[in-house]
Symmetry: D2
Subunit: 126 residues, 4 copies
Protein backbone atom coordinates (compact mmCIF):
# COMPACT_ATOMS: atom_id res chain seq x y z
CA UNK A 1 0.00 0.00 0.00
CA UNK A 2 1.36 3.42 -0.93
CA UNK A 3 2.32 5.40 2.12
CA UNK A 4 0.35 8.63 2.63
CA UNK A 5 2.31 10.74 5.10
CA UNK A 6 0.39 13.09 7.35
CA UNK A 7 1.26 16.00 9.55
CA UNK A 8 2.21 15.46 13.16
CA UNK A 9 2.34 18.33 15.62
CA UNK A 10 6.06 19.08 15.55
CA UNK A 11 5.99 21.04 18.80
CA UNK A 12 5.56 17.68 20.50
CA UNK A 13 8.64 16.20 18.85
CA UNK A 14 12.06 16.45 20.42
CA UNK A 15 14.24 15.46 17.50
CA UNK A 16 15.12 18.53 15.42
CA UNK A 17 15.83 16.52 12.25
CA UNK A 18 12.42 14.88 12.50
CA UNK A 19 10.71 18.25 13.05
CA UNK A 20 12.44 19.54 9.93
CA UNK A 21 11.57 16.42 7.91
CA UNK A 22 7.88 16.55 8.79
CA UNK A 23 7.39 20.29 8.59
CA UNK A 24 9.07 20.87 5.24
CA UNK A 25 7.15 18.04 3.57
CA UNK A 26 3.71 19.04 4.77
CA UNK A 27 1.40 21.07 2.55
CA UNK A 28 -0.39 23.73 4.61
CA UNK A 29 -3.59 25.29 3.27
CA UNK A 30 -3.87 29.05 3.79
CA UNK A 31 -7.25 30.49 2.94
CA UNK A 32 -10.21 32.37 4.31
CA UNK A 33 -12.59 29.75 5.69
CA UNK A 34 -15.57 31.84 4.58
CA UNK A 35 -16.19 32.16 0.86
CA UNK A 36 -18.77 34.06 -1.14
CA UNK A 37 -20.83 31.91 -3.45
CA UNK A 38 -19.87 32.38 -7.09
CA UNK A 39 -16.74 34.45 -6.45
CA UNK A 40 -13.12 33.50 -7.09
CA UNK A 41 -11.71 32.43 -3.74
CA UNK A 42 -7.92 32.19 -3.40
CA UNK A 43 -6.53 29.02 -1.82
CA UNK A 44 -2.80 29.07 -1.17
CA UNK A 45 -0.86 25.92 -0.45
CA UNK A 46 2.56 26.41 1.05
CA UNK A 47 5.07 23.71 1.89
CA UNK A 48 6.34 23.90 5.46
CA UNK A 49 5.91 26.54 8.14
CA UNK A 50 9.35 26.72 9.69
CA UNK A 51 11.61 24.51 7.63
CA UNK A 52 12.33 24.94 3.92
CA UNK A 53 12.59 22.08 1.42
CA UNK A 54 15.48 21.62 -1.03
CA UNK A 55 14.96 22.37 -4.72
CA UNK A 56 17.71 20.07 -5.96
CA UNK A 57 17.49 18.19 -9.23
CA UNK A 58 17.28 14.88 -7.39
CA UNK A 59 15.16 16.12 -4.50
CA UNK A 60 12.32 18.57 -4.97
CA UNK A 61 8.58 19.02 -4.57
CA UNK A 62 7.23 18.01 -7.96
CA UNK A 63 3.50 18.22 -7.36
CA UNK A 64 0.83 19.89 -5.23
CA UNK A 65 -2.83 18.90 -5.67
CA UNK A 66 -5.99 20.44 -4.27
CA UNK A 67 -9.05 18.35 -3.45
CA UNK A 68 -12.57 19.13 -2.26
CA UNK A 69 -13.33 15.98 -0.29
CA UNK A 70 -12.43 13.26 -2.79
CA UNK A 71 -12.80 15.44 -5.88
CA UNK A 72 -9.64 16.84 -7.37
CA UNK A 73 -9.97 20.50 -8.37
CA UNK A 74 -6.50 21.30 -9.66
CA UNK A 75 -2.91 20.18 -9.58
CA UNK A 76 0.38 21.98 -10.03
CA UNK A 77 3.47 20.22 -11.36
CA UNK A 78 6.90 21.75 -10.84
CA UNK A 79 10.21 21.20 -12.53
CA UNK A 80 13.38 21.52 -10.45
CA UNK A 81 14.73 25.05 -10.67
CA UNK A 82 11.46 26.90 -10.06
CA UNK A 83 12.93 27.89 -6.70
CA UNK A 84 16.29 28.77 -8.23
CA UNK A 85 17.72 25.48 -6.96
CA UNK A 86 17.88 26.84 -3.44
CA UNK A 87 15.92 25.77 -0.38
CA UNK A 88 12.52 27.37 -0.17
CA UNK A 89 8.87 27.12 0.66
CA UNK A 90 7.15 26.00 -2.52
CA UNK A 91 3.90 27.92 -2.73
CA UNK A 92 0.99 28.00 -5.15
CA UNK A 93 -2.29 29.92 -5.19
CA UNK A 94 -5.28 28.30 -6.86
CA UNK A 95 -8.49 30.28 -7.25
CA UNK A 96 -11.69 28.34 -6.84
CA UNK A 97 -15.38 29.21 -7.12
CA UNK A 98 -17.36 27.41 -4.45
CA UNK A 99 -21.11 26.94 -4.80
CA UNK A 100 -21.53 25.13 -1.49
CA UNK A 101 -19.58 24.29 1.63
CA UNK A 102 -16.35 22.44 0.97
CA UNK A 103 -13.68 20.47 2.77
CA UNK A 104 -10.27 20.99 1.23
CA UNK A 105 -7.25 18.70 1.27
CA UNK A 106 -3.86 19.24 -0.29
CA UNK A 107 -1.49 16.50 -1.36
CA UNK A 108 2.13 17.08 -2.24
CA UNK A 109 4.74 14.81 -3.74
CA UNK A 110 8.45 14.88 -2.89
CA UNK A 111 10.69 13.04 -5.34
CA UNK A 112 12.54 11.38 -2.47
CA UNK A 113 9.93 11.11 0.27
CA UNK A 114 6.67 10.39 -1.50
CA UNK A 115 3.11 11.56 -0.91
CA UNK A 116 2.12 13.93 1.92
CA UNK A 117 -1.37 15.09 2.86
CA UNK A 118 -2.55 18.21 4.64
CA UNK A 119 -5.04 18.52 7.43
CA UNK A 120 -8.57 19.28 6.16
CA UNK A 121 -9.67 22.89 5.78
CA UNK A 122 -13.40 23.62 5.87
CA UNK A 123 -14.86 26.32 3.66
CA UNK A 124 -18.23 27.83 4.56
CA UNK A 125 -20.02 29.37 1.62
CA UNK A 126 -22.67 32.05 1.80
CA UNK B 1 1.79 21.42 -37.31
CA UNK B 2 -0.02 22.10 -34.04
CA UNK B 3 -1.56 25.54 -34.02
CA UNK B 4 -0.18 27.90 -31.36
CA UNK B 5 -2.68 30.75 -31.01
CA UNK B 6 -1.36 34.15 -30.00
CA UNK B 7 -2.89 37.33 -28.73
CA UNK B 8 -4.07 39.99 -31.13
CA UNK B 9 -4.89 43.47 -29.95
CA UNK B 10 -8.68 43.19 -29.62
CA UNK B 11 -9.21 46.96 -29.62
CA UNK B 12 -8.39 46.79 -33.31
CA UNK B 13 -11.03 44.16 -34.02
CA UNK B 14 -14.58 45.06 -34.92
CA UNK B 15 -16.30 41.73 -34.47
CA UNK B 16 -17.47 41.34 -30.86
CA UNK B 17 -17.55 37.53 -31.00
CA UNK B 18 -13.95 37.47 -32.21
CA UNK B 19 -12.85 39.90 -29.47
CA UNK B 20 -14.48 37.61 -26.92
CA UNK B 21 -12.92 34.47 -28.46
CA UNK B 22 -9.40 35.89 -28.46
CA UNK B 23 -9.51 37.66 -25.12
CA UNK B 24 -10.94 34.80 -23.05
CA UNK B 25 -8.45 32.29 -24.43
CA UNK B 26 -5.34 34.38 -23.89
CA UNK B 27 -3.19 33.86 -20.79
CA UNK B 28 -2.05 37.23 -19.43
CA UNK B 29 0.97 37.38 -17.12
CA UNK B 30 0.59 39.74 -14.16
CA UNK B 31 3.77 40.26 -12.20
CA UNK B 32 6.25 42.86 -11.05
CA UNK B 33 8.89 43.08 -13.77
CA UNK B 34 11.56 43.68 -11.15
CA UNK B 35 12.47 40.78 -8.90
CA UNK B 36 14.89 40.44 -6.02
CA UNK B 37 17.47 37.73 -6.45
CA UNK B 38 16.79 34.71 -4.26
CA UNK B 39 13.32 35.79 -3.11
CA UNK B 40 9.97 34.18 -3.93
CA UNK B 41 8.45 36.28 -6.71
CA UNK B 42 4.73 35.83 -7.42
CA UNK B 43 3.72 35.37 -11.06
CA UNK B 44 -0.01 35.35 -11.68
CA UNK B 45 -1.47 34.08 -14.92
CA UNK B 46 -5.05 35.06 -15.59
CA UNK B 47 -7.15 34.03 -18.56
CA UNK B 48 -8.77 36.97 -20.35
CA UNK B 49 -9.02 40.62 -19.44
CA UNK B 50 -12.58 41.49 -20.40
CA UNK B 51 -14.26 38.27 -21.42
CA UNK B 52 -14.69 35.20 -19.22
CA UNK B 53 -14.26 31.61 -20.39
CA UNK B 54 -16.81 28.83 -19.78
CA UNK B 55 -16.09 26.15 -17.18
CA UNK B 56 -18.29 23.48 -18.75
CA UNK B 57 -17.47 19.81 -18.65
CA UNK B 58 -16.90 19.76 -22.40
CA UNK B 59 -15.28 23.18 -22.64
CA UNK B 60 -12.85 24.45 -20.06
CA UNK B 61 -9.28 25.63 -19.53
CA UNK B 62 -7.48 22.46 -18.54
CA UNK B 63 -3.90 23.67 -18.32
CA UNK B 64 -1.74 26.73 -17.75
CA UNK B 65 2.05 26.46 -18.03
CA UNK B 66 4.78 28.91 -17.15
CA UNK B 67 8.06 29.05 -19.07
CA UNK B 68 11.28 31.04 -18.71
CA UNK B 69 12.34 31.26 -22.35
CA UNK B 70 12.13 27.64 -23.45
CA UNK B 71 12.43 26.14 -19.97
CA UNK B 72 9.21 25.06 -18.28
CA UNK B 73 9.07 26.09 -14.64
CA UNK B 74 5.65 24.83 -13.59
CA UNK B 75 2.29 23.77 -14.93
CA UNK B 76 -1.20 23.76 -13.45
CA UNK B 77 -3.83 21.25 -14.56
CA UNK B 78 -7.49 21.91 -13.82
CA UNK B 79 -10.51 19.66 -13.72
CA UNK B 80 -13.86 21.08 -14.82
CA UNK B 81 -15.73 22.43 -11.83
CA UNK B 82 -12.88 24.39 -10.27
CA UNK B 83 -14.77 27.53 -11.27
CA UNK B 84 -18.08 26.12 -10.03
CA UNK B 85 -19.09 25.34 -13.63
CA UNK B 86 -19.77 29.00 -14.29
CA UNK B 87 -17.97 31.37 -16.61
CA UNK B 88 -14.91 32.91 -15.05
CA UNK B 89 -11.34 34.09 -15.37
CA UNK B 90 -9.17 31.09 -14.52
CA UNK B 91 -6.26 32.38 -12.48
CA UNK B 92 -3.19 30.82 -10.89
CA UNK B 93 -0.26 32.26 -8.94
CA UNK B 94 3.08 30.51 -9.19
CA UNK B 95 5.95 31.69 -7.02
CA UNK B 96 9.36 31.58 -8.58
CA UNK B 97 12.86 32.39 -7.36
CA UNK B 98 14.86 34.08 -10.09
CA UNK B 99 18.63 34.16 -9.96
CA UNK B 100 19.06 36.12 -13.18
CA UNK B 101 16.99 38.06 -15.70
CA UNK B 102 14.18 36.05 -17.20
CA UNK B 103 11.70 36.18 -20.07
CA UNK B 104 8.41 34.57 -19.13
CA UNK B 105 5.81 32.98 -21.38
CA UNK B 106 2.52 31.38 -20.41
CA UNK B 107 0.74 28.71 -22.41
CA UNK B 108 -2.84 27.67 -21.80
CA UNK B 109 -4.91 24.86 -23.21
CA UNK B 110 -8.64 25.02 -23.92
CA UNK B 111 -10.32 21.65 -24.43
CA UNK B 112 -12.11 22.96 -27.50
CA UNK B 113 -9.77 25.59 -28.91
CA UNK B 114 -6.29 24.25 -28.29
CA UNK B 115 -3.03 25.91 -27.27
CA UNK B 116 -2.69 29.67 -26.64
CA UNK B 117 0.45 31.59 -25.81
CA UNK B 118 0.96 34.86 -23.97
CA UNK B 119 3.10 37.80 -24.93
CA UNK B 120 6.55 37.65 -23.29
CA UNK B 121 7.11 39.30 -19.91
CA UNK B 122 10.63 40.34 -19.00
CA UNK B 123 11.85 40.05 -15.43
CA UNK B 124 14.84 42.10 -14.33
CA UNK B 125 16.61 40.65 -11.31
CA UNK B 126 18.77 42.60 -8.91
CA UNK C 1 -8.43 12.21 5.17
CA UNK C 2 -8.62 11.56 1.42
CA UNK C 3 -10.16 8.21 0.68
CA UNK C 4 -7.87 5.76 -1.14
CA UNK C 5 -10.08 3.05 -2.58
CA UNK C 6 -8.63 -0.43 -2.95
CA UNK C 7 -9.60 -3.55 -4.81
CA UNK C 8 -11.85 -6.11 -3.20
CA UNK C 9 -12.23 -9.58 -4.67
CA UNK C 10 -15.45 -9.11 -6.63
CA UNK C 11 -16.13 -12.83 -6.91
CA UNK C 12 -17.04 -12.68 -3.23
CA UNK C 13 -19.56 -9.90 -3.75
CA UNK C 14 -23.19 -10.63 -4.55
CA UNK C 15 -24.35 -7.22 -5.67
CA UNK C 16 -23.77 -6.82 -9.42
CA UNK C 17 -23.70 -3.01 -9.29
CA UNK C 18 -21.04 -3.12 -6.61
CA UNK C 19 -18.95 -5.63 -8.60
CA UNK C 20 -19.16 -3.29 -11.58
CA UNK C 21 -18.31 -0.22 -9.47
CA UNK C 22 -15.23 -1.79 -7.91
CA UNK C 23 -13.92 -3.59 -10.97
CA UNK C 24 -14.14 -0.71 -13.45
CA UNK C 25 -12.41 1.70 -11.07
CA UNK C 26 -9.49 -0.54 -10.20
CA UNK C 27 -6.16 -0.16 -12.01
CA UNK C 28 -4.69 -3.61 -12.75
CA UNK C 29 -0.98 -3.93 -13.47
CA UNK C 30 -0.12 -6.30 -16.32
CA UNK C 31 3.58 -7.02 -16.67
CA UNK C 32 6.17 -9.74 -16.64
CA UNK C 33 7.30 -10.09 -13.02
CA UNK C 34 10.84 -10.84 -14.19
CA UNK C 35 12.78 -8.00 -15.77
CA UNK C 36 16.26 -7.83 -17.27
CA UNK C 37 18.51 -5.24 -15.70
CA UNK C 38 19.00 -2.20 -17.91
CA UNK C 39 16.38 -3.12 -20.51
CA UNK C 40 13.09 -1.34 -21.25
CA UNK C 41 10.39 -3.33 -19.48
CA UNK C 42 6.77 -2.70 -20.48
CA UNK C 43 4.28 -2.14 -17.65
CA UNK C 44 0.67 -1.93 -18.75
CA UNK C 45 -2.02 -0.55 -16.49
CA UNK C 46 -5.56 -1.34 -17.50
CA UNK C 47 -8.72 -0.16 -15.77
CA UNK C 48 -11.09 -3.01 -14.92
CA UNK C 49 -11.09 -6.64 -15.88
CA UNK C 50 -14.74 -7.32 -16.62
CA UNK C 51 -16.53 -4.01 -16.41
CA UNK C 52 -15.79 -0.96 -18.54
CA UNK C 53 -15.74 2.63 -17.27
CA UNK C 54 -17.62 5.52 -18.92
CA UNK C 55 -15.69 8.13 -20.89
CA UNK C 56 -18.22 10.92 -20.44
CA UNK C 57 -17.26 14.55 -20.12
CA UNK C 58 -18.43 14.62 -16.50
CA UNK C 59 -17.25 11.11 -15.60
CA UNK C 60 -13.99 9.70 -16.85
CA UNK C 61 -10.63 8.35 -15.73
CA UNK C 62 -8.41 11.42 -15.80
CA UNK C 63 -5.18 10.02 -14.42
CA UNK C 64 -3.14 6.84 -14.00
CA UNK C 65 0.13 6.94 -12.06
CA UNK C 66 2.85 4.32 -11.66
CA UNK C 67 4.92 4.04 -8.48
CA UNK C 68 7.86 1.91 -7.40
CA UNK C 69 7.19 1.67 -3.68
CA UNK C 70 6.68 5.32 -2.74
CA UNK C 71 8.58 6.75 -5.70
CA UNK C 72 6.51 7.96 -8.63
CA UNK C 73 7.94 6.90 -11.98
CA UNK C 74 5.41 8.31 -14.42
CA UNK C 75 1.87 9.55 -14.70
CA UNK C 76 -0.60 9.73 -17.58
CA UNK C 77 -3.31 12.38 -17.72
CA UNK C 78 -6.30 11.89 -20.01
CA UNK C 79 -8.84 14.30 -21.43
CA UNK C 80 -12.39 13.06 -21.96
CA UNK C 81 -12.81 11.76 -25.50
CA UNK C 82 -9.65 9.65 -25.64
CA UNK C 83 -11.96 6.61 -25.62
CA UNK C 84 -14.30 8.18 -28.18
CA UNK C 85 -16.75 9.05 -25.39
CA UNK C 86 -17.84 5.43 -25.14
CA UNK C 87 -17.37 2.99 -22.29
CA UNK C 88 -14.02 1.29 -22.35
CA UNK C 89 -11.03 -0.03 -20.48
CA UNK C 90 -8.58 2.85 -20.24
CA UNK C 91 -5.13 1.38 -20.79
CA UNK C 92 -1.60 2.75 -20.82
CA UNK C 93 1.81 1.14 -21.29
CA UNK C 94 4.78 2.73 -19.57
CA UNK C 95 8.27 1.38 -20.27
CA UNK C 96 10.62 1.33 -17.33
CA UNK C 97 14.26 0.34 -16.88
CA UNK C 98 14.73 -1.42 -13.56
CA UNK C 99 18.17 -1.68 -11.99
CA UNK C 100 17.01 -3.62 -8.94
CA UNK C 101 13.95 -5.43 -7.63
CA UNK C 102 10.85 -3.27 -7.52
CA UNK C 103 7.37 -3.24 -6.05
CA UNK C 104 4.92 -1.47 -8.33
CA UNK C 105 1.68 0.27 -7.47
CA UNK C 106 -0.74 2.02 -9.77
CA UNK C 107 -3.10 4.79 -8.74
CA UNK C 108 -5.98 6.00 -10.88
CA UNK C 109 -8.31 8.94 -10.50
CA UNK C 110 -11.98 8.97 -11.53
CA UNK C 111 -13.53 12.43 -11.78
CA UNK C 112 -16.59 11.24 -9.85
CA UNK C 113 -15.24 8.51 -7.58
CA UNK C 114 -11.78 9.68 -6.55
CA UNK C 115 -8.50 7.84 -6.04
CA UNK C 116 -8.10 4.08 -6.51
CA UNK C 117 -5.01 1.98 -5.86
CA UNK C 118 -3.91 -1.32 -7.33
CA UNK C 119 -2.55 -4.35 -5.56
CA UNK C 120 1.26 -4.39 -5.49
CA UNK C 121 3.17 -6.12 -8.28
CA UNK C 122 6.67 -7.35 -7.54
CA UNK C 123 9.37 -7.15 -10.19
CA UNK C 124 12.43 -9.37 -9.88
CA UNK C 125 15.42 -8.05 -11.76
CA UNK C 126 18.33 -10.11 -13.00
CA UNK D 1 7.64 33.25 -28.82
CA UNK D 2 8.28 29.77 -27.41
CA UNK D 3 10.40 27.71 -29.74
CA UNK D 4 8.71 24.58 -31.10
CA UNK D 5 11.44 22.35 -32.48
CA UNK D 6 10.60 20.07 -35.37
CA UNK D 7 12.21 17.07 -37.00
CA UNK D 8 14.69 17.53 -39.80
CA UNK D 9 15.77 14.63 -41.96
CA UNK D 10 19.02 13.70 -40.25
CA UNK D 11 20.31 11.71 -43.23
CA UNK D 12 20.84 15.06 -44.90
CA UNK D 13 22.93 16.43 -42.04
CA UNK D 14 26.67 15.99 -41.92
CA UNK D 15 27.38 16.91 -38.32
CA UNK D 16 27.10 13.81 -36.11
CA UNK D 17 26.40 15.81 -32.94
CA UNK D 18 23.56 17.62 -34.66
CA UNK D 19 22.08 14.33 -35.95
CA UNK D 20 22.19 12.98 -32.41
CA UNK D 21 20.66 16.17 -30.95
CA UNK D 22 17.75 16.22 -33.38
CA UNK D 23 17.04 12.51 -33.45
CA UNK D 24 17.02 11.88 -29.72
CA UNK D 25 14.71 14.81 -29.05
CA UNK D 26 12.12 13.98 -31.66
CA UNK D 27 8.96 12.09 -30.71
CA UNK D 28 8.14 9.50 -33.39
CA UNK D 29 4.60 8.12 -33.62
CA UNK D 30 4.40 4.39 -34.26
CA UNK D 31 0.91 3.14 -35.02
CA UNK D 32 -1.20 1.39 -37.61
CA UNK D 33 -2.59 4.11 -39.85
CA UNK D 34 -5.83 2.19 -40.22
CA UNK D 35 -8.07 1.93 -37.17
CA UNK D 36 -11.36 0.20 -36.57
CA UNK D 37 -14.13 2.47 -35.37
CA UNK D 38 -14.92 2.00 -31.71
CA UNK D 39 -11.95 -0.24 -30.89
CA UNK D 40 -8.93 0.54 -28.70
CA UNK D 41 -6.12 1.50 -31.07
CA UNK D 42 -2.57 1.55 -29.67
CA UNK D 43 -0.47 4.61 -30.43
CA UNK D 44 3.15 4.35 -29.35
CA UNK D 45 5.36 7.41 -29.10
CA UNK D 46 9.06 6.73 -28.94
CA UNK D 47 11.82 9.28 -28.55
CA UNK D 48 14.53 8.97 -31.17
CA UNK D 49 15.21 6.35 -33.78
CA UNK D 50 18.97 5.97 -33.65
CA UNK D 51 20.18 8.09 -30.78
CA UNK D 52 19.16 7.67 -27.14
CA UNK D 53 18.42 10.54 -24.74
CA UNK D 54 19.95 10.87 -21.26
CA UNK D 55 17.81 10.19 -18.19
CA UNK D 56 19.81 12.36 -15.83
CA UNK D 57 18.26 14.29 -12.99
CA UNK D 58 19.07 17.59 -14.69
CA UNK D 59 18.39 16.43 -18.24
CA UNK D 60 15.53 14.13 -19.09
CA UNK D 61 12.34 13.86 -21.13
CA UNK D 62 9.67 14.99 -18.68
CA UNK D 63 6.58 14.95 -20.87
CA UNK D 64 5.07 13.40 -23.99
CA UNK D 65 1.65 14.57 -25.20
CA UNK D 66 -0.64 13.17 -27.89
CA UNK D 67 -2.92 15.42 -29.94
CA UNK D 68 -5.55 14.80 -32.60
CA UNK D 69 -5.21 17.97 -34.66
CA UNK D 70 -5.37 20.67 -31.99
CA UNK D 71 -7.20 18.55 -29.41
CA UNK D 72 -5.10 17.00 -26.69
CA UNK D 73 -6.02 13.38 -25.98
CA UNK D 74 -3.55 12.41 -23.29
CA UNK D 75 -0.23 13.37 -21.76
CA UNK D 76 2.43 11.38 -19.91
CA UNK D 77 4.68 13.02 -17.33
CA UNK D 78 7.90 11.31 -16.30
CA UNK D 79 10.14 11.70 -13.29
CA UNK D 80 13.89 11.20 -13.75
CA UNK D 81 14.83 7.61 -12.98
CA UNK D 82 12.08 5.93 -15.01
CA UNK D 83 14.82 4.81 -17.39
CA UNK D 84 17.10 3.79 -14.51
CA UNK D 85 19.13 6.97 -14.99
CA UNK D 86 20.75 5.55 -18.09
CA UNK D 87 20.42 6.71 -21.69
CA UNK D 88 17.41 5.27 -23.42
CA UNK D 89 14.52 5.71 -25.79
CA UNK D 90 11.61 6.95 -23.69
CA UNK D 91 8.51 5.19 -24.97
CA UNK D 92 4.82 5.30 -24.08
CA UNK D 93 1.78 3.55 -25.54
CA UNK D 94 -1.55 5.33 -25.34
CA UNK D 95 -4.70 3.51 -26.45
CA UNK D 96 -7.27 5.61 -28.21
CA UNK D 97 -10.73 4.92 -29.62
CA UNK D 98 -11.24 6.80 -32.88
CA UNK D 99 -14.71 7.45 -34.24
CA UNK D 100 -13.54 9.26 -37.36
CA UNK D 101 -10.34 9.97 -39.28
CA UNK D 102 -7.67 11.65 -37.21
CA UNK D 103 -4.38 13.46 -37.61
CA UNK D 104 -2.05 12.80 -34.72
CA UNK D 105 0.78 14.92 -33.39
CA UNK D 106 3.09 14.22 -30.49
CA UNK D 107 4.86 16.85 -28.44
CA UNK D 108 7.70 16.10 -26.05
CA UNK D 109 9.48 18.25 -23.53
CA UNK D 110 13.17 17.98 -22.64
CA UNK D 111 14.17 19.73 -19.43
CA UNK D 112 17.19 21.28 -21.16
CA UNK D 113 16.10 21.65 -24.78
CA UNK D 114 12.42 22.54 -24.63
CA UNK D 115 9.43 21.53 -26.75
CA UNK D 116 9.69 19.19 -29.76
CA UNK D 117 6.93 18.20 -32.13
CA UNK D 118 6.51 15.12 -34.32
CA UNK D 119 5.51 14.92 -37.93
CA UNK D 120 1.76 14.35 -38.34
CA UNK D 121 0.40 10.81 -38.55
CA UNK D 122 -2.91 10.26 -40.31
CA UNK D 123 -5.35 7.67 -39.01
CA UNK D 124 -8.03 6.34 -41.33
CA UNK D 125 -11.01 4.91 -39.52
CA UNK D 126 -13.42 2.38 -40.93
Amino acid sequence: MLNINRYQDITKLENEAKKDYIDRHTPFIHTNGEAKKGELHPVTIKMGQEFAHPDDFDHFISQISLFNKNQKLAEATFLPGALGNVKGHMEITFNVVFDKNAELYAQSYCTKHGIWESDPQKIYVQ
